[in-house]
């Protein structure tokens, strides 16, 4: 029996473990991957000119600190069930059952897909899988690839692939059908891209975003004049008026069929062409990985700007279920720095609320740090993230879902 058991060794779980262990709690972290760090392990981006966020280094630093504080780490161990007993939690894993007084779920995010004909062929992968192959495993996903889905995640990862000299045909929309909805509509995709205008190298978007914000006429003009060969972002052409209608190949990916779209999203007959590629990355966005929450009595609430269903929780990462805490991307899709800061809050919060540690101002300082990281985040997954958080943490929000 340990004091605090943490599921997930990403930035949130690791940061929480350090706070709790340095306040003398016994802490165990469980993660199913081979290496601690979670999604940090694939991350490499330039935050400002020549200032790089290196996820591998960050993971290493957090892991070392956790070790110094006596945190026990169990890797390659999957949690498949959790259950609250009278006064403790049992966590069922592929390596046995563990008991703890308090439980922190920091399982991060999962990728959303965009189904289309041919997406089950070998050589089709999620954009995150391409990131892991390239940055974590140092394996080239193929000779030439194509990215389906235009969003913050696919842009960030395309750059990482480019840094490894991987050839990319470009970004294309998914075909328009029931499950691809807005991600297949040129106008909504363009609008979404404009909200990403904070991403430094996309000057044209920043300009466009300023002028075009909320002006549908200008947005439509932008679409009509959108260059046929696309606009390059980090050397990869972005097409907002071309969609991939199928992925082709007999035993693996050999080509994709792309078609030109009118500004309203309808296909232009006869514009089909086949592009030769040997791998395809699909990027449908991220959603909180809440399956373990679904085993508890904790309520989930849908907030679009946070990425979908998130567990109802307080700003100090406590939940309404006794001794159950959440932190990181499971509470909403944000960058690694925010997840790390939330982990700090959760670690301190568990000490206070489950172990009667005196509530000094450490908790408030840590919560303030989360707000600051959020406000300053260079990589934002949704433009209205602050609104989503306010809804969740305000009294009003509680009335709505309470």
């Amino acid at each position: 029996m340990v004091d605090l058991l943490i599921i997930g060794a990403g930035p949130a779980g690791l940061a929480a473990s350090i706070e709790a262990a340095s306040r003398n709690l016994s802490v165990t972290i469980i993660d199913e991957f081979t290496t601690p760090g979670g999604r940090l392990l694939g991350q490499l981006h330039e935050e400002e000119k020549d200032v790089w966020w290196n996820g591998v280094e960050e993971a290493h630093t957090l892991h070392e600190k956790a070790q110094e504080n006596g945190v026990e780490l169990l890797l390659e161990t999957s949690v498949y069930k959790i259950q609250q007993e009278d006064v403790y939690w049992s966590t069922h894993t592929s390596a046995g059952i563990y008991h703890s007084k308090a439980l922190l779920i920091a399982t991060g995010a999962t990728e959303q897909s965009l189904p289309l004909p041919g997406w089950t062929l070998p050589g089709v992968m999620s954009i995150g899988a391409a990131q892991v192959m390239t940055n974590v495993r140092h394996v080239k996903p193929g000779e030439k690839g194509i990215i389906i889905g235009l969003n913050a995640l696919s842009f960030a990862i395309s750059r990482e692939l480019r840094l490894c000299n991987i050839d990319l045909e470009g970004f294309f929309l998914p075909p328009d059908h029931f499950l691809t909805t807005d991600q297949a509509k040129p106008l909504s995709v363009l609008n979404n891209l404009m909200t990403l205008s904070h991403l430094a190298p996309m000057n044209w978007m920043r300009l466009g975003g300023k002028i075009a914000n909320n002006n549908r006429w200008i947005q439509k003009q932008t679409l009509s004049f959108y260059p046929k060969r696309g606009i390059n972002i980090w050397q990869t052409p972005v097409h907002v008026r071309k969609a991939v209608t199928s992925i082709n190949g007999s035993t693996q990916v050999e080509s994709v069929t792309v078609v030109d779209l009118r500004a309203d999203g309808t296909m232009i007959e006869g514009s089909e062409e086949n592009l030769e590629v040997d791998f395809v990355c699909i990027s449908g966005g991220l959603a909180p990985l809440t399956e373990l929450i679904g085993l508890t009595d904790l309520k989930l609430i849908a907030i679009e700007s946070l990425g979908g269903y998130v567990p109802v929780h307080f700003e100090d990462m406590r939940t309404e279920v006794t001794d159950l805490y959440v932190a990181g991307n499971i509470t909403g899709i944000e960058s690694a720095k925010v997840a790390r800061a939330q982990g700090v809050v959760a670690g301190i919060s568990a000490c206070i609320h489950s172990f009667n540690l005196r509530n000094d101002d450490a908790l408030e300082i840590a919560m303030e740090k989360v707000r600051k990281e959020r406000a300053e985040a260079k990589l934002q997954f949704h433009p209205e993230i602050e609104k989503g958080r306010t809804l969740l943490y305000s009294e009003k929000g509680e009335v709505q879902y309470g």
Partner: protein, 87 residues
Amino acid sequence: MTKDVIVCRCEGTTLEEIATIAAEYQCSAREVKLRTRAGMGYCGGRTCRGFIDYIVSHHSNHQELTLHHRPPVRPIPFALFREVNDE
């Protein structure tokens, strides 16, 4: 297009099959899964679960959100499965 779009990769169930069954039986996502096997394959619905819920919620009047999961949430060996069921 909907005929060629596989939603459940493990069981090969298409968008059209799921939508048709949901509309025909006006039933819950769970019933659609049992009727089509969508989401019942090896991975336990990790990729398609959200899609199935979404399709069913738009093609059937059945108002039940299946946010609850049941253990195990990961594929596990049979030896461990016995223990899961020992409740």
